[in-house]
Symmetry: C2
Subunit: 297 residues, 2 copies
């Protein structure tokens, strides 16, 4: 069976078409990878490249995009609404098929060393974290680019790779290995943000909810609805139907119905297994029954 | 995008391991196809080969299995619990990816002519049917092998290909093109077969139910449950969640709960879209979001 690693590389440029094109070109010249999605957001001033393939080819792709991004981006003049700390901001590697955790970690570390040798301070996060407080991106990125110079003076925030001193042009990069993440948003038939906040608080791990759920509530002004915006960081531990039905149950306790839901970005096929198993009660559904799985090497 | 046609070839031998092996070997020597499933059932005395690939390669595979089956099987001595009329009994071709209806029909007709030239009477069914009464397999196969000699004397049952006279060794073959079929069984927490029969009657097309549903009720003796056993012959027209929720609603009207359900055999990925859309209310779920679709050429 073919080995497949996915990389989602977030770079801090989402406005200048020439710069974005230069970065994109770097990826398009890499053989043996498939580009899944390229998303540039001018408000965020950020572009996200999602691509996959053989681990070594994906490493090559990550290096080439990074080279181009480091050429094009100067963090000392960067503005954007999305939290960020580096020109190459965050680079998760995600095992998809027949890639062991060890193999993915080896790729992430090789990528981290590569950036470090180019002069970029690098922090390892998630499954590649070297200290417990570096596991979560929000901890590493707290204070963002603007706080980085001070933060790096603290011995607790010595980078894992690269120079120990602040680099004004490039900031710092966070890379590591994580499980496939599902961005799942549920829209409520209410414009009362407090109800959304109470539901987000109930389902998210950090305030007592499900193990693998991160959640916030947002107002969708145009729709006059409230959204419970979630990241399911491990759908095996906390399956999608469990989360959806719990949000529905909590909304119902406020007399509020669910309007609809959204899945944003890539979804592993395996995550849909729980949907079939739970709702259709096909307890022993085998993903190999899906005809298309026979078309993958 | 790669062209993919699926073939499900049903041959009337499911007991003798030597004969089954000889037939299987014929398929394994065909390049460029993927075998999805091989199922031999001794009670049925029947084997079902499911394989897929480029249309021309699948045609080649169907010819090679048929050659072997015609060598190995003598219908004049065949016994088995599953309805059958030929050594090569029924051979549906199912377009899966980037194959037009016309292209699939061309393959089915080329296959039918091939068998006809070898001396097997052939009837076209489903989307390849030449007359309305030949659309359904049950009509063509009515009376089975034993009634075939008489049936073929009726001008209404002149074969579409091959000799116009009965062939004792090979019976007759039915081939054609159909949409991907989903075998979906729902098990009820009751041993009252009458309740199962009433539900099957309500959901199936032939007695007033859904357009694309065929259904019968069965007793599952060991489980002391009743099964509503369905073929969903067009999941685009009649989606799985609509059928499942209707069965649940009807069972509930008898005060009966659903125990579980089964999907048997191949399922097209696309059929799971409705499950996500209906239950999770992700109205605009795009199958291209599924990571594995990027691994298919």
């Amino acid at each position: 069976m073919r080995k497949v690693l996915l990389c989602e590389i977030n770079v801090s440029e989402g406005i200048d078409p020439k710069k974005i094109a230069a970065i994109t070109r770097a990826l398009e010249n890499v053989e043996g990878i498939s580009i899944m999605d390229i998303n540039s957001n001018p408000d965020h001033n950020r572009s996200v490249y999602t691509f996959l393939g053989d681990p070594e080819r994906v490493l090559e792709g990550a290096k080439r995009i990074s080279d181009a991004a480091l050429d094009q981006i100067d963090m000392s003049v960067h503005k954007g609404s999305h939290p960020r700390m580096g020109a190459v901001d965050v680079v998760p590697f995600v095992p998809i098929r027949n890639v062991s955790q060890e193999e993915a970690l080896k790729i992430a570390r090789e990528y981290g060393r590569y950036l470090g040798e180019k002069g970029v301070p690098v922090y390892y996060y998630e499954d590649a974290a070297t200290r417990p407080e570096r596991k979560l991106l929000v901890n590493i990125r707290k204070g963002q680019y603007e706080a980085l110079e001070e933060k790096m003076k603290d011995p607790a925030w010595i980078p894992d790779e690269g120079p120990f001193s602040f680099c004004p042009k490039w900031g710092a990069t966070v890379t590591g290995v994580r499980f496939a993440l599902i961005a799942f948003n549920v829209n409520l038939k209410t414009d009362d943000l407090e109800i959304g906040k109470a539901i987000a608080k109930a389902v998210r791990f950090s305030s007592g909810g499900f193990h693998s759920v991160r959640a916030i509530a947002l107002s969708l002004e145009e729709r006059r609805q409230v959204q419970v915006s979630m990241n399911l960081v491990n759908y095996r531990m906390t399956p999608i139907p469990l989360v959806f039905e719990t949000v529905k149950m909590l909304a119902d306790s406020y007399g509020v119905a669910i309007s609809d839901a959204e899945m944003v970005g890539p979804v592993p096929l395996d995550a849909l297994r729980d949907v079939v198993t739970h709702y259709l009660r096909v307890r022993d559904f085998n993903m190999e029954q899906i005809i298309e799985t026979k078309l993958i090497e």
